[in-house]
Symmetry: D3
Subunit: 333 residues, 6 copies
């Protein structure tokens, strides 16, 4: 029962204005730690598969806080590379209310991970041990910098060499790079990718692929890049406090569907990552049952979006009872 899943990327200190205050008017910020790939790691770990997270961090209280909050959930952080240089990325979050959307200010430039160069991580060592099954990263990591992009590719290659599955969340961030840059880099990385998780919108922005509906988009993606599985999530912003959440997956000619969850939104950030975490757990724990992946992904994501912070605090029991109850659970006392 060693580590099975390894994720890699940037984790930031997140500072959110409480009680729907605008960032500009805040007198205090709530402190969280979040980043797409560590959010996935935390989610997978909590559901029951041992997971490690790899990044590069500045060795100061803020860097240590990042590690702390990830290993608080049991994720293995022993392959994190520490430096006295650079800085810990931050982002500021303002919660929305209709018609004002949630908004984010990134303050992640020159972070330690964006400065990482090829060779900084000993990927062979990271993927060693025989228990490793899957490597996950997202389209944010290569977008951080040229060198981060190279390191991402290096990692994916090493994972493939070590016989791992590779999953990627496309996660296009327009504040980090252009669609052209994304297309070039991500297309190359898709070569090493077995499982892609994305949205219709990102697919269009990065790969110019569109379709009638999201099944079709998934199918096109799978065909073009020869993925084992493509999962596509769909968030419908009914309002800022009410979203509908759904996802489908496509694998080897088949489309896998699930119910739509009606969410009362406490914190949407990390919702996609907790889908990914739930999906990977469901898929791996069942030895490749895509339907189970979708169902665990949706339930996991739905629960996560009801608590503050990027990370899931859901338990396996909670996720499974939500699936069984068709999305409804009662107060028990």
């Amino acid at each position: 029962m060693g580590v099975e899943v390894v994720t890699f990327g940037e984790t930031m200190i997140r500072l959110s204005a409480p009680d729907f205050n605008r960032l500009e008017q805040a007198n205090s910020f709530e402190v969280f730690v979040g980043g797409s790939e560590s959010n996935v790691a935390v989610c997978v770990q909590r559901l029951g598969i041992d997971t490690a997270f790899v990044t590069r961090l500045t060795d100061n209280p803020l860097g240590r806080m990042v590690e702390n909050k990830i290993r608080e959930h049991g994720v293995d952080t022993s392959d994190i590379v520490w430096t006295d240089e650079d800085r810990v990325g931050k982002y500021f979050l303002e919660y929305g209310a209709n018609p004002r959307p949630s908004s984010v200010i990134y303050d992640r430039s020159n972070s330690a991970i964006s400065k990482a160069k090829k060779g900084v991580f000993d990927w062979k060592e990271v993927f060693a041990g025989g228990d490793k099954t899957l490597f996950h990263t997202s389209g944010i990591t290569p977008a951080l910098s040229k060198s981060a992009s190279e390191v991402t590719k290096e990692a994916m290659k090493a994972a493939k060499d070590a016989g791992l599955l590779v999953s990627v969340d496309l996660n296009y961030r327009s504040k980090l790079w252009s669609q052209e840059e994304a297309k070039e880099v991500m297309t190359e990385l898709m070569e090493y990718t077995d499982i892609l998780i994305t949205t219709e919108e990102d697919t269009e922005r990065v790969f110019d692929i569109t379709g009638e509906d999201y099944s079709e988009v998934a199918e096109q993606l799978a065909r073009e890049f020869k993925f084992d599985v493509v999962a596509i999530t769909l968030r419908d912003n009914v309002s800022m406090w009410r979203n509908d959440w759904a996802a489908i997956a496509y694998s080897e000619g088949e489309v896998y569907k699930d119910m739509t969850y009606e969410l009362e939104l406490v914190d949407r950030v990390g919702g996609g990552d907790s889908f990914t975490g739930g999906f990977l757990y469901g898929y791996l724990a069942s030895d490749g049952d895509v339907q189970q992946g979708v169902e665990y992904g949706n339930a996991s994501s739905s629960v996560k979006q009801t608590n503050p912070g990027d990370m899931s605090w859901a338990s396996l029991e909670e996720v499974e009872s939500l699936i069984e109850g068709g999305g409804r659970v009662r107060i028990s006392r």
Copy 2:
């Protein structure tokens, strides 16, 4: 204008995770005090009928906090029995958001009241004085322990002997006892009960009584146990933040109905108790007008569910203007 209503049961320190944090992630807990029977006492007292609450408490700052927060509203606490033994019960509350339900962790075992034995309370003295009109307890109190069950029966008998009306909220708690245990004990206690407040669900779980609709359930209960009045509340969980609230009562062949309130839910806990409090006030203040009981109960409950904490902070004026306005009131300035 001495004390007219006496309630009896357990009151706990309640610790709630703020701002929709999961209990597991909380860095602070909001402190409240709550328990079904003292919630009823506070509600009745605030509306204008003098009330006393009886329990057994450990004499330490937490026990004193329980007493303080009840008498803050004017409830008479002079018959509370104090001990240096045992502990003060606690419970932990996590507020829900769709599809995650609110949830409760009870930590009430071995509390001072659950350890109370027959003879600890001088019921004759408690019910003396001539002003006492009604004794209220709930199905939680006998569920706490064998001895608490005996004390409950002792109290109800004494109340009847002293010529008081006895009302009971059935309040089945599956975490405290089984349906079989509940059925046995509660059936016996119904002998001393004049007014029963309950839900369809609890009726089925405890007495195996079901019906077409809740009027029929009320009627069956009244017939079987010869109650003066049966009130049945109905909560419809539209979502975690939106509930519909309604209640009816049955008395001597007649069904009493009222409007349905559309609630924006701040805190559902104690909503049933504030129905009971409002019902008892309305019923007693009108010398037995059941319709008024139902209306005051519903309005009282609806207001309570919009503030944090188990207890009602509604005023009589507020409840009455809500009834008059058919459930709508405007900001006045």
Copy 3:
């Protein structure tokens, strides 16, 4: 680029119970500063037209806080008159949840501005400088006291003499004066008024004017008082957390309409003032385009109602992108 808009009235310290606590149960109050006319000033200033606010304040930390929080947004406060006498007005706010409405306790009697007498302000000096374009006040200011009423008239006259446009928000406050008093005073002040902002309800309460719909009411007002523009706002209280917001304007025979905004309400107080601020900005910045006034007013008000506090924290960019997006904006990252 000197000050173009001058507003005049009372600003109070506002104390709100956090987290939907009832005022009676609060253990802390959030501190804000608010008043109809300074709310307007802040809104206009933030959108890009230099603004000054005039009032009379007691020179103590609370009075200084009032000035601070207004000039925090860049509003010129150099014409505020300071005194060692009297007090700083306060009000207490309780946020509502269905069916409990938000409620306000005013504690503003004997405030420094209500004690101001004619001659205390040097209006000639206030309106000097050539850049001044518009003077704004509301029906609250004359309602504060007899002398405040006289000072209001004095100010309006001086503004007209200095060649400024005068706008008034009718803002009837039943806790400050009767409808009869309001009618008498406001009728007289309408003589100096070019732009009136109000609601159907206030129009009826103060001027006994009603109509088929709010276009008709606006038209009647304009005809009777010879206003350049009348704007009428309409709030539909779907629930305490969901309001619909709309407004129209009437000018020289034409009715100007806009979309209806579906608001998730964080704080409704100041919503009207941020309509006024947005309207005045849109109208003045376009040299009198009433349609633009209505659109900027609605967008400005809608954003403001999603943050705590009386004051708008919206930027011009935000307001304009809301108008362009037809009321919808997405999280960008």
Copy 4:
């Protein structure tokens, strides 16, 4: 075991800036309730003698909060007179740190109690019942207004007529009246006074009485006004966070002394009142042992000054173990 001690005066909502923030910079205020005479009542009640507090309050959530927070400790509030007029007094507190002193802004003008007129309270009824032993008020109450001064005299006379002891805390407040006014009124009231609690400084400011040390001052006071007992407290402001506290009493030719407490100051406000409360308890519970009064007064005051808020939260056990330990107690676990 009916009410033995009755106190009378004004209780305010107190708003304190947290964490040593200046009032002018505060974003929230902590909410407490305090007033010299109710602070005394709470302290006496907590130590074990039943007590009632009499005042006049505006019937709104803030007025009810005042009553709630007093009866939270068990004080009888049934003789409070309620009105829909006037307002609830407030004060704002800023905690000091060397060399910046703590400071207070009173906002109590036109409060309901300051507007009380003779005849508003039924003193005969208040003092009826046979258990009443002592009436307490302070020099703040008559300073509130001319009519409050008359009511104070009315109350003291009625107390004497009913055979009660009367105690007064001289409590000179320069923000409420001049030394001349105070001298005139207080001299008259001393006629009905049996026990005076004061400081050297107030004695000089109100009565022009000075002495070599505080024993001498006490003796002069006792001689001039024929008091049974005079107690004088002495606070030495070592710094804002460290005070020394001591007190003596004089009675029938004898001086009663006690140790000096070295206080780590959390909140000095109400320190004198908790001396008075402890003194009255010690004195009454021992049937007039002045030495015990001084010791209980000092210990009670010392404990109170270590918690936020005007009111004492000390228990009798705590006070007595402090007296026994000579001012030192250890963490027990």
Copy 5:
């Protein structure tokens, strides 16, 4: 670099009243996690030696929080035994201010660890692996219950059998057992103990051993029980906010001393545990240099007592720079 140090005991949810509020008056509690043996584990781990903590916990959000907060610092928690029975222990903390001491209410009865029985832990497995060097527990663990006492002995024996050093913090808790019980049980456990950490006071209470000074006490202990090392800590309560901290150790005829630290106390709880943690780190990292143990212990403890919570957040760098600076460090910027 596997786990070298294993600690075993009870960890509780700790609820502290903020801002020097009395427990009885608190409106919220700060949530921490603490227990003597996990405090030691966290401290050792942070300084750089890999550590595991063993306990038995109830599987609910509170139990998971206990695990989370320990592994947040990197401590291995994989040998924790989970149960659906029993409860998670709690304690309530009130911070003191002169002359009011800090105080604690334990609410730990029937906790999962107190219910643990022999055989529940697989000690052979726990101590396997070859890296394990030292086992640590305290006198609290056997005091929890008869069965906990048996399990403690079982663990110590197994540790000795596996060739580990065994260290014990005597930690007498009068609220858990009598001096007689403690003496009997602890005397037996001393047989397996190599390193004892204690105070003069506990030595006297448990073993009736006293001496001229604490060197002598240490020597007597070492002689009587044949310890390798005895460390004795001395806290001088100058006041509640100012303590002096010192410790010495005795080993094989030699006394090891260090400077006295003048502490500004933020939170004294866990101060002894962070001495133990620092001592064990210093001692083990230097392969048995007792002087280094004492110095690291004192510096570690001193830093810990300046932050809220039971646990140390000190880094090795911080501890070492404090030792080098002779107890003084400057703000660097």
Copy 6:
């Protein structure tokens, strides 16, 4: 009465861990805004001389917050240059307790001001208008970057050309540049400097100048660089919560001294800046009375160090009554 004093430098968002939490353990951060030169501006403005602050800021909510919090005090911010590029500097503050010092993490690299280039500011315009008397900056500004250093020199030259006095706080920051770099740049800038404020330590680190006592150091500095006035501040860290504060000045052969203030430290950061602000006010308001400068500087600094945040909230009245009272003021009520 136009702007007389202009200051120039970097202002950051400051995030402080509350309640003595370590940065690594914080769950929320208090938000302040601070920077040496704007702290000076705020202090001078509050005391009564109109002041402007110049910097370059990124145009987002965090940049606007910086401007807001400065103009909240009335400082003119109209010459701030805005950009869509770069970032807003931040710093993290941990409050100390003996023996743990306060500590700071700077996160200011690549801030908008550090990226400013010559020509970005129109210094002629900034210093125009005839009221400008003094320009102030600190040794932090040129340390930010090469280009910031050039801009600083540009500004100082322009100030001299415009006939202004120039004052500089030497403020050496070892985290920003080496002593060698500082010496080279600062020596050059001293040519344009009339008033230098510094410490003995910084004088030694930057200029290698030492002396018997701080009078001698001041004299040497004045002689070497031909300053009109040199002021030297001395902080004695009695402990983290108790500092002694003193300062002297030297001017034209004369040494000006003042009392030593015993501070209870709430927040030391900005203490030097509020000395500078007080000094400049006292010096300018008296047309060059250096003694008054020192006294106002010390009192201003002392008050500031008792409130959280970098900025002074002192009033002129407060500062003057502290000077008159020889450092002691009483609570007045």
